[in-house]
Each structure stands twice: as C-alpha cells, then as structure tokens.
Amino acid sequence: MITRQFTITAEVGLHARPATQLVQEASRYSSHIELEYNEKKVNVKSIMGVMSLGIAQGATFSIIIDGHDEEEAMKGIEALFTNEGIAE
C-alpha cells in the first residue's frame, strides 16, 4: 500500500474536468484507489464519490493505493496531476 499527499492547484478545485480526468485515470488500474480528505474516504473510481467531497483549490488530500499495480497507478496519477495542472 502506498500513500501520497497532494495540494489542489486547479482553479476549479477537484470538480469538472479535473475530477473526470482523475476518475478516468484511476479506472485504468486494478488496484483499489482511495482519496482521503477531511477525514472522509472515497473510492477514486467513483465520480460521484470524488465530486461529493467538494475539494476546492488549495486543499490538501491523500491518495491511498493498494494492489498489484499500485506503483504504476501512483505514477499515472502523479503524471496526470502535473501535466494537467490539477494538483502537486
């Protein structure tokens, strides 16, 4: 299991396109991927779960990945966050 912290840089927060992109990226891996924010945990493959958190610009959250392709999944998500200016 690996965990990493991120801070949202996207102006719109983790809504709209950034949320869609994150869910699409997460769905490419078989590992179980969770997002923890404000003491709430949601399944990152669930668009409704991710959006229900209402994460705004500047907020800090963790991504927790557990499964056999966890390394790859974390790399993929990190790359998406950086390339699209979503979080760092």
Binding site: V12, H15, A16, R17, T20, V23, Q24, S27, V42, N43, K45, S46, I47, M48, G49, M51, S52, G54
Partner: protein
Amino acid sequence: MPVSLHGIAASNGYAFGKAYKLIEPDLSFEKTTIENSDEEIQRFHEAIKNAKKELAKIREKVTNEQGEENAAIFDAHLLVLDDPELISTIENKINEEKVNAESALRETTDTYIQMFEQLENEYMRERAADIKDVTKRVLAHLLGETLPNPGLIAEETILIAVDLTPSDTAQINKQFVKGFVTDIGGRTSHSAIMARSLGIPAIVGTKTISSTIQQGDNLIIDGMNGEVIIHPTDEVQEIYKEKMTKFQAQQAEWALLKDEPTISHDDHKVELAANIGSPQDVESAINNGAEGIGLYRTEFLYMESTSLPTEEEQFQAYKVVLQGMNEKPVIVRTLDIGGDKQLPYLELPEEMNPFLGLRAIRLAFEKIDVFRTQLRALLRASTFGHVKIMFPMIATLDEFRKAKAILLEEKEKLTDEGISVSENIEVGIMVEIPSTAILADEFAKEVDFFSIGTNDLIQYTFAADRMNESVAYLYQPYHPAILRLVKLVIDAAHKEGKWAGMCGEMAGDPNAIPLLLGLGLDEFSMSASSILQARSQIKQLDQKAMRKLAEKALQLQTSEDVKKLLETEVKATK
C-alpha cells in the same frame, strides 16, 4: 387529425421533413417486489449497457459536428454510468430489498441528487442535474421508452416541442434540422430569435402542435404564413416545392446586394446592421451583408455558462467578434440579465414584476464586480476592431453618468497597468423606457448615440407584459404613440449631431421600414437574415416621400389607421 395548423410566423422560409418530437416520454413506474434478484440485476445491467451505447454515439456525433467542448458533458454522464459505488449500491438494494430495478435506481440516485443539491457550490448543484439526466436515460431503457436525442438526428426533420430552451437550440444541426414548430412563444421569444439567426424557418405559438403531431409525421412548414401542413398530398407537396424554389431565387437575387451600400432611391444613405448573440453569429452577419453589428447581446455568454464567465473568456469572445467584423462597427450591449433572462448562479431574489425590477443596468450597479469585469474585458478587446459600448435599460441621466464613470475608471486602471485601450470608443444607450425617450433631447447632449429597443419600449409604453399572451394585442409597433416616441429620439439625436439606430424587431420589419426611413432613422439593426431584403426594399424607396408618409402617420390615432395608411401609400409610391 387536422390537415394544417396555424401559429406565429417566426422565421422565413419553407421546410419539408419528418416530425421529430422533442418531448419526454412518460417514465412513471410502480415500486414492486421481485422474485429473482439475479434476473433483475441482469436487466439493470442491460439498461446501463444500452444507455452507455447511446451516450457514446451522441458523444461521438456531437464531437464531430460541434467539437470536444460541447461533448464534454456526455463524458461526465458516461462516468456516472461507470461509477462502481453507484452500481453496487443499486445492486445491493435489488438483492437485499427485493425491489425492482426502476425503484432501486430512482431511490439511490435520489440520495445522491439530494446530497449534491445541498452543497454550497453552484457547480455541484449543476451536477445534480447531470445525475437526473442519466437516471432518466437508464429508466427509459428499463421501461422500454425512447428519450428524444436531438444530437442523434440524421435525417431531414422538423423539430416539434412545447418550447425550445437555449441549450436545445444550441444543439441544432442545420444539416438535418430544417425547421421547428413550438406550442408556445411569440416573434420575440428566444426560440424565434434563434431560428432567425440560424436561418431556418420556424413557427411558434401553435398551442397544440406537440399534442397533435405524431413522431415521424410528414410535415411542411411555411415560415412566411405560420402554417404547418400535416401529411401533405403529392399535389400540395408540389405547390410548396415551387414556392420554395421561388423563395430561394429571391434569396439569390438579394444576395447580389451583399456588398452594396444601403442607399434609398433618392440617395439617402442609412446603415443596416445585424443583431448577434455569440461569436459564431459573425459569419452569418458578414454573409448577409451587415454593415456592422448593431447589437451584440453579451448575456448569452453568461447564460450558456454554469458560472460567471471570467474576464479572459469574455475578452476572447469580444476579440473574435471585433476581428471577425474587420473594423466595421460593433455595438456591444453590456449585460442585460433579469426580466425573462435569469442566471441560476447569480442567485437573484425573486421579484413580483421582474420586467419592472432589478434588470440590466440596475443589476449591473448591484453586481458591480460583474459589471466591472465585463467592462475591463471589453476595453482590453477594444484595440482589435471598432467597438462601441451601449448600456441597456437606462431610465435616467444619472444612471448613464454613473455607468460611464465606471467605464472611465476601468479604462484609467487599464492604462495605468500599461494595457492599451482604444481612445475613441463611442458610448451610447438603449432607449427602451419612455422616460428616456421623452428626455432624449437632454440625453443627446451627453451620449454618443441612441439605439431604440422597440420590444421593451412597446411593452413599457403600453404597460403590457410582452410574455403574457392575454395582453399580446397591446404589442403595437405601429401605434402613433410609439412612432412619436421614436421621432422624439431621432430628432433629439440629430439636433446634437449624433445618430439614432434601432435594434428591436421593428427595425427589420418590411412594413415598418418605410416609416422608419421617413422618420430619419440612421441605423437599422436586425436579424442577419433580414438585411438583404431590407436593403433591396430601401433601394426602391424614396426617403422624401417616406418623410411625408411618416408625418401623416404621426397625426393618426390608432395602429389600424397607420397600417391602412401604409397599405395604400407605400404601394402607391413604389
């Protein structure tokens, strides 16, 4: 079934096609207990699969025809259908509570919808609408119903609807949608204005079309006379084909006038401009021979968005319009929201009389930051073409002075920041309120121009809500009371060496043009599709003769008197 139906002619032309009803099917169902939950879950998955297939098709089509931007909404819909949390919650419900898939779906999505609707963020509340949309689509598949998908239309059709919203009309693909007919609306409703800007025939206000017509019925629409012909015989079909050929020939003849100036028979020059709502309309304005943009309705920029458009987004839109018009004048009207046009994300209080309430410039003063952002975007774009700025719904000189002062403040700020701004921007006002028309002589000393907005001027002069069909008879553009107000405004402008235009529906009305020419109107701004016809008409008119006609009209007593005068005299002087 009747052979024909009558409505209000909203946009010229003829169209042939099959009826496509943009009407939602009945999606009601009963909550039942089921025996075999595995079978029910299977049925649910089948519905999800079909809904996804349908959405993917729509997505692809919209992407190809209108670009990625417009298709993004369907990505969100597809993700909801892929949501593992949502799917498993529904499966568990079917399994444990032994309920049918319809009620498991509805109850689960309702929980999410409620949760999203309670969030502070306007964007999230919008997403609740997405979930509703997706739920509807899956429900339709479960119930064996078909949802209307205007994006999937692939044959020549005529859209039939109770009314068309801005988002419906935004999806219209002219290649297949040849025209539309609605139950409600008038010549100035959103759907009618959009039809004219798209250049497709339309009939509105038929009251019963959506309940009379069956999906796939063969129709002809006659946008000239407001007639819908249902199941035309071959004979009737032939007659209309001939009419359409004539109409198209006429259009071709007018097209020759595209790059000509607009000069009356006795050498009096006027300007014909187009009313537009978005940068996409510029092409049609140019193709129809517009000498400028007489009214750029910026509110569509706000209405098409789920949140306030940023300064940068606005700047880009204004820049595209100004560059597209290539140094021809573009009159940009600042935000005209309120009345019948609402912005969900602005959260304005409900009013008893919205048309008499906080709208247009009044709202701009209330939401001063929104107003300032727009002015900054406009000023920044000003160096890319010939912009003129116009404030809507000005009732007093104080309002004009205040709005202009804010504009100058923003201009100074930009100059201080080292951003270049055009030096000679004309600043004018819409004349829509009788108080302003009456005091036009005083206004003329301070404004650079007037543009008369007839739709509102008529409604405020006769104190008759133009959205209320019961008082529609009071929409009287030819009434001497209106003509006298128009004359006051034009004369006041000329006395101060300024110009007066008109950007209401009346300016493009072939029956009103002789009168307006006679009253001395300098600029006529209308739907792009009316420009060439108007130019052809003005070329044949004698301005001096029309001046005499106008003088006579001003002395008459009723609309009917004026119409009679026009019928006899305009024909005689041609």
